[in-house]
Structures are given as C-alpha cells and as structure tokens.
C-alpha cells in the first residue's frame, strides 16, 4: 500500500458528528487541512453521497466507503473514521434503505481504475467483522492504526 498516504493521524474518532453529512464534512476537512485533497473535494464527496450513497451492509457493524472523482485529490490517501454511536447512511445498492454505520473509510484516489491492491485490502478488511469490531472497541487511535496497518500495509 505504498502508493497511498495513511498513518495514525489519518484516523478520526467521530463523537460530535450526528449525521452522515457532518461525518463526511469532518473527514473531508481533515484531508483538506493536510493538503491531501483540493478545496472542491468536500463538496464532491457530499454531492456524490446524495446521488450514489456508499453505505455497505457488511453484517452487524456496517461501513461506508465515500470517495470522489480523482480531480479533487492531490495525494492518494485514506482517512478512517470510527463512530462508537452509529450514524445513518444510505445503502449503495438500495439508496432508499438506511444503514447504521460504525466506520467510514474515506478514499482519496488519484488514479481512476488504479489503487487495485489498496482497494482490495480495504474491502477485505471491512468484510472482516472481527477486525472491524476490534477497531471500534480499541482503547485509542494507536490501537486502531495497528489493526488497519496489519490488514492494509
């Protein structure tokens, strides 16, 4: 996963954010503050989520994988948001269905059709409910990072 930027500072605890819009905004702002995405990224993410939602029903602990067009991105990167209290997102396959989401993998991709290895690893991590549960219950961000690192790096 050498082609994308991810470290402990790319993990956010989502406590104050109640809606998916607030969650997506906080995460997009975080990427912007680090210079990894352009100013237009946040709006692109919010619009995209409205049109093509990204909630995935993966079992008990569900995950969303928001992303936007590559032109809004400076450096390929990943921001992970952990919500102890679930936040409502809409389902990718059934946009009328609401899903309670506990974890958000915000993807800032630089290449269309690229980053195959990273995308496959993210998908295999979100399918691993045991790992997802460990991430949500982890005592601090370092512990979360170690779990993601094991799976992605």
């Amino acid at each position: 996963m050498s082609d994308i930027i991810f470290n402990e500072s790319m993990i956010l605890k989502l406590d104050g954010q109640k809606t998916n819009r607030e969650v997506l905004s906080a995460m997009a702002d975080h990427l912007f503050q680090k210079g990894l995405v352009k100013e237009t990224y946040k709006e692109a993410i919010l619009n995209r989520e409205k049109e093509f939602p990204t909630g995935l029903f993966t079992g008990n602990l569900n995950v969303a994988i928001p992303h936007a067009d590559t032109r809004h991105v400076n450096n390929a990167s990943l921001c992970v948001g952990i919500a102890e209290n679930p936040v409502k997102f809409y389902a990718m396959d059934e946009p009328d269905n609401i899903i309670d989401i506990n974890m958000v993998f915000m993807l800032a991709l630089k290449e269309a059709h690229g980053h195959i290895e990273m995308l496959q690893k993210v998908i295999s991590l979100i399918q691993d409910q045991e790992a997802v549960e460990k991430m949500i219950k982890a005592k601090d961000l370092k512990a979360v990072y170690e779990i993601v690192e094991q799976h992605l790096l």
Partner: protein, 92 residues
C-alpha cells in the same frame, strides 16, 4: 470473447474491485473475458457493446438490453460466491 461492463457511481473505486474479482474468477475457470469500467451515468450509452452489465450501485436507467447483475456482495462479502457464479454463467 464476451465483454462485461462494470459500473459504479464514479467508475473509479468499487468498479475496480468488482472488475478485478470478475477477471480473477474468469481466469480461474479458463474463460476469456474483456472487463471494462464506467460510471453508472455512462451505462446507457455504452451497454450495447457488451454482453453483461454488472453494477455496485443501483442501476435505475432504462434502455439496456443486456442482462444486469447487482454485485454489492463482491463488496460486502455476503453471498459473494453466488454472485460470481451467476456472472460466470452469463459468460460461458
């Protein structure tokens, strides 16, 4: 050789995962296939050149005369093998 069109919202992320899984499954089964990615919004203008449409998001557009498989299971892992077998059946 059969041609598969894989579509998702942006045409850049989930379709990459699904396209890769379809290529691997076809390779494992010795079925030659061409897999192309696009955005859901581009499907109607492109579908005529393909034998099968696979989507991750919900495809609500009309005017498509080829079979459509929803492949959310390739992202969630729930029912993944069944979906891959369904896709394979269209490509044999």
């Amino acid at each position: 050789m059969k041609k598969v069109l894989v579509a998702c919202g942006n045409g850049i992320a989930t379709s990459t995962v699904v396209a890769t899984k379809i290529r691997e499954k076809c390779e494992d089964n010795g079925i030659p296939v061409i897999v192309t990615q696009c955005k859901l919004l581009e499907v109607e203008s492109k579908a005529d050149d393909y034998d099968l449409l696979v989507t991750t998001g919900k495809f609500t557009g009309g005017g498509v005369n080829i079979p459509v498989v929803t492949a959310i299971s390739l992202l969630t892992g729930i029912g993944e093998e069944k979906t891959l077998d369904e896709i394979l059946a269209y490509l044999k």
